[in-house]
C-alpha cells in the first residue's frame, strides 16, 4: 500500500518552498531504485528526446496555442493492461476519435504502487486475451517500452494516474516522452486514498513538480494538470476551485509554469461557464498575490463525473452536452467519456465515438459565449465570495506557508471535500442540486463560507425541496447523487397522466 516516506525526507519539516537541488538528487535516487525500470530513467537523455519531438506532440505548447486561438481540445481517458492493447487503443483514439490529446490511464495497482499485483494483472490479461486491469501498468513496462506508445501516435500524450503516490510513475512517464501529467497533492489525496495524509500527498507532488522544473532547466516545457474534479460527486465549483488555487500555489513554489486546472461539469450551462472563468481568475489572483505573473493556467472541463445513466441514448446526451458546456464555457480542453460509462471501461471504438460526438458538439457551439449575461456575472461573483474567505483562512493558518496551511485547514475542517474516502478529510460538507439545477451547498460543516452566501444556497435548496414535496434534509444530497443516472421515465416522465 502507500509507500512510507524515505527516512531522511520525513525528518525535514513540511514547507511549500522549492526542494533544494541536492536533497532532490537524493530523493530521486532513492525513488528510482524502488523498481527495476527506474534505472531506465536518464534525465538528460529524456530531455533531449522531448526536444526531438515535433511541436504537435508537446502538450505544453499545444495548450498554449489552443488558449491563444480560443480552441477547445478534446481528450479521452483510456488504459489497458498490455502494451499491445494500449497501443491499439491509443491509435484508435488518435485516428478514429480525432483526439487532440491522447491519454494513458494507469491501472489502480500501479497507482497504489503495488507493482507486483500489476505484474500479475499483465500476465493474467495476456493469458485471457482481455484486459483485467483498469489501466496500463506504466512502471512495469518502463521507459523504453512505453516510448513506443508515444511513437505510435501523432498527438501529445498525457499520463492519467489518479494517485497520491506519483513519484515513480511520473519519472517513467515523462522520461518516456509524455508531455503532460495529471495529478495534484490535494485533489488526489482527498479523493483517491484512504490513509495517505495530506502531508504525504503534498510531499509526493512536490517531488513531481520539482521534477518538471528539472526538465524546464533543460529547455523542455512540460504540462502539469490539477484534477479539480475531486470525488466527481456533485462538487460545487467553489470547492473545486479552492483546491485548484491551493494546488497551483504549491506547484509554482516548485517552479512549475504550465499548469492546467480541471473542473468537473455541474451540467448547468451558466454555472459551468461561470466556474471556468472564476477558476482562471481566482488562480491568477492568488498567484499574483505571491508575485507570479507568468503562470499559464488553462482550464479543462470534464464530462459529468458523477453516476451515469445506463441508457446509451441518455449517455449520448451527456457526452454531447459535455462538449457544448466546455465550448461555451471557453475551456481550453475537454475530457470526454463514452456511452459505456455506467457499465465499464469503454471499448476503443465507444471511446472514439464519445470523442467525435464531443468534437461535433464543440464545433456547433464554437461561437457562443455567455460572459455578458447578468446571471453569469452573478454566479461568477458568488463563486469568488465562496472561495476567497476559505483560501484566506487557509493561508492565514499556514502563517504564510501554503503547505502547512493546507494540512492544518483539512485537520480543522476549514477545507472539506464531499464524499471523500480519505480518513484525514472530515467529508462533512454536503452538496445538493437546487431548484434551477445549480449545485449548491446543503451543509457547509466547518467551512468558513459567509452567512449571506449560505442563506442564498439554502433558499435555493429549500425551493427545490418544496417543489418536489420533499423534506429539507440530507436526502436532498443523496437524491442528487442519483439524479443524472435515473432512467428518463423517472427523470422526465410524460407530464400528463392518463385521464
Amino acid at each position: 500500500m502507500a509507500q512510507a516516506l524515505p527516512h531522511r525526507e520525513r525528518a525535514l519539516p513540511l514547507k511549500a518552498t522549492q526542494i533544494p537541488e541536492d536533497v532532490f538528487h537524493v530523493m530521486r535516487r532513492e525513488n528510482l531504485a524502488r523498481w527495476p525500470t527506474g534505472a531506465e530513467v536518464d534525465l538528460d537523455e529524456a530531455a533531449a528526446y522531448h526536444l526531438s519531438l515535433p511541436e504537435n506532440k508537446r502538450l505544453g505548447t499545444i495548450m498554449r496555442k489552443a488558449a491563444a486561438e480560443g480552441r477547445c481540445l478534446s481528450q479521452p481517458r483510456g488504459g489497458f493492461a498490455t502494451l499491445e492493447m494500449q497501443r491499439e487503443l491509443m491509435q484508435v483514439l488518435d485516428r478514429e476519435g480525432l483526439a487532440d490529446v491522447v491519454p494513458t490511464t494507469t491501472d489502480s495497482y500501479t497507482r497504489n504502487e503495488q507493482w507486483h499485483n500489476a505484474q500479475k494483472g499483465i500476465d493474467e490479461s495476456t493469458r485471457a486475451g482481455r484486459s483485467l486491469l483498469n489501466g496500463y501498468p506504466m512502471v512495469n513496462y518502463g521507459v523504453k517500452a512505453t516510448r513506443t506508445l508515444v511513437e505510435a501516435i501523432d498527438k501529445p500524450a498525457i499520463v492519467l494516474s489518479g494517485t497520491a503516490m506519483p513519484r515513480l510513475t511520473s519519472e517513467v512517464g515523462y522520461a518516456a516522452g509524455y508531455s503532460g501529467y495529471l495529478g495534484s497533492a490535494i485533489a488526489y489525496t482527498v479523493s483517491y486514498t484512504k490513509d495517505v495524509t495530506i502531508e504525504e500527498g503534498i510531499r509526493n507532488y512536490q517531488y513531481l513538480d520539482r521534477l518538471v522544473t528539472l526538465y524546464q532547466q533543460r529547455g523542455v516545457e512540460l504540462h502539469r494538470r490539477q484534477p479539480g474534479f475531486l470525488t466527481g460527486t456533485n462538487i460545487p465549483p467553489c470547492i473545486a476551485i479552492m483546491t485548484c488555487v491551493l494546488d497551483v500555489l504549491l506547484a509554482v513554489e516548485q517552479g512549475v509554469k504550465n499548469y492546467g486546472l480541471e473542473l468537473g461539469q455541474t451540467l448547468h450551462l451558466i454555472q459551468d461557464a461561470a466556474a471556468i472563468r472564476a477558476c482562471e481568475e481566482l488562480c491568477q489572483e492568488y498567484l499574483r498575490r505571491v508575485g507570479h505573473n507568468d503562470i499559464f493556467t488553462p482550464i479543462t472541463s470534464l464530462h459529468w463525473m458523477g453516476a451515469w445513466p445506463q441508457d446509451e441514448a441518455q449517455a449520448g446526451a451527456l457526452i454531447s452536452y459535455g462538449g457544448t458546456l466546455a465550448a461555451i464555457g471557453g475551456a481550453v480542453s475537454v475530457t470526454t467519456k463514452s456511452t459505456h460509462e455506467a457499465i465499464g471501461i469503454p471499448t476503443p471504438q465507444a471511446n472514439a465515438e464519445g470523442l467525435r460526438m464531443t468534437r461535433m458538439a464543440i464545433y456547433l457551439a464554437r461561437n457562443i459565449r455567455l460572459d455578458a449575461m447578468d446571471e453569469f456575472r452573478r454566479e461568477k461573483e458568488l463563486i469568488g465570495r465562496e472561495v476567497r474567505p476559505v483560501i484566506d483562512k487557509v493561508l492565514e493558518m499556514g502563517d504564510g506557508d501554503v503547505a502547512v496551511g493546507t494540512v492544518r485547514a483539512f485537520e480543522a475542517g476549514i477545507m472539506d471535500i464531499p464524499w471523500s474516502p480519505n480518513r484525514q478529510v472530515k467529508s462533512r460538507v454536503l452538496p445538493a442540486r437546487d431548484a434551477d439545477g445549480y449545485l449548491r451547498i446543503f451543509d457547509p460543516a466547518s467551512m468558513p463560507i459567509p452567512e449571506d452566501v449560505l442563506e442564498f444556497h439554502e433558499e435555493r435548496l429549500r425551493l427545490r425541496a418544496e417543489r418536489e414535496g420533499k423534506a429539507y434534509d440530507h436526502e436532498l444530497a443523496v437524491t442528487s447523487v442519483y439524479e443524472i443516472c435515473e432512467p428518463l421515465s423517472h427523470l422526465a416522465p410524460f407530464p400528463w397522466p392518463k385521464d
Binding site: M1, Y109, R130, L132, L133, K194, A307, G344, I345, T347
Partner: protein, 154 residues
C-alpha cells in the same frame, strides 16, 4: 429510501467495504446508510480494503454477512479466493454479497455473475444496483437462512 427491516428481531451485523485498491466510496457509503436505516448493524471499512481486513472484521464482530463493493474493474482479480479465505477463517457459511462494476468493460451480465458465484459469492449485483433491491434480497436471504436454506430461491 426503503423502510424494509431485517427479518428477525436481533439485528444482523454486516461488514461492508470497497475491496482492493479501489477508491469508489460513494455507492458503498450510501449502501451503508441504507442498511443502517433498515436496522442492520453496519461495520464499514471504507475504500481500499484488502480482502483479509473484511474477514478480520467479520470475525471480530461475529458478522452475519459481508458486503463487498468493487467498482473499478479489478474486482475480478481482487475477489478471487475470497470464499476460501472465509473458510480458512471458519466463516464457511457467512453470507457473501458482491456488487458494483465488477469487471473491466462492458461484458454480458450472466457471464460476470457466474464468474463471481463460482468464486463462492452467494449473490452478485450488476452495475447501478439500488439499495432497495439489495435490502429486499438480504431480507429474503436471511429469512431463508432462518429456515436452514443457504439462500432464498427465486
Amino acid at each position: 429510501m426503503t423502510t424494509e427491516r431485517a427479518p428477525d428481531s436481533r439485528p444482523k451485523t454486516l461488514v461492508t467495504g470497497v475491496i482492493g485498491a479501489d477508491t469508489h466510496i460513494v455507492g458503498n457509503r450510501i449502501l451503508g446508510m441504507a442498511l443502517a436505516k433498515a436496522r442492520y448493524k453496519v461495520i464499514n471499512l471504507g475504500a481500499l480494503t484488502p480482502a483479509e481486513e473484511f474477514i478480520k472484521a467479520a470475525i471480530e464482530t461475529a458478522a452475519d454477512g459481508i458486503m463487498v463493493s468493487s467498482l473499478y474493474g479489478q474486482g475480478e482479480l481482487d475477489c478471487r479466493g475470497f470464499r476460501d479465505l472465509c473458510i480458512e477463517a471458519g466463516l464457511d457459511d457467512i453470507l457473501l454479497y458482491v456488487g458494483g462494476n465488477l469487471v473491466v468493460g462492458k461484458q454480458p451480465w450472466p457471464d460476470v455473475e457466474k464468474r463471481f458465484l463460482d468464486m463462492g459469492f452467494d449473490r452478485a449485483f450488476p452495475p447501478g444496483a439500488r439499495t432497495d433491491a439489495v435490502i429486499e434480497t438480504l431480507a429474503r436471504d436471511f429469512a431463508a437462512r432462518a429456515q436452514g436454506l443457504r439462500r432464498a430461491v427465486e
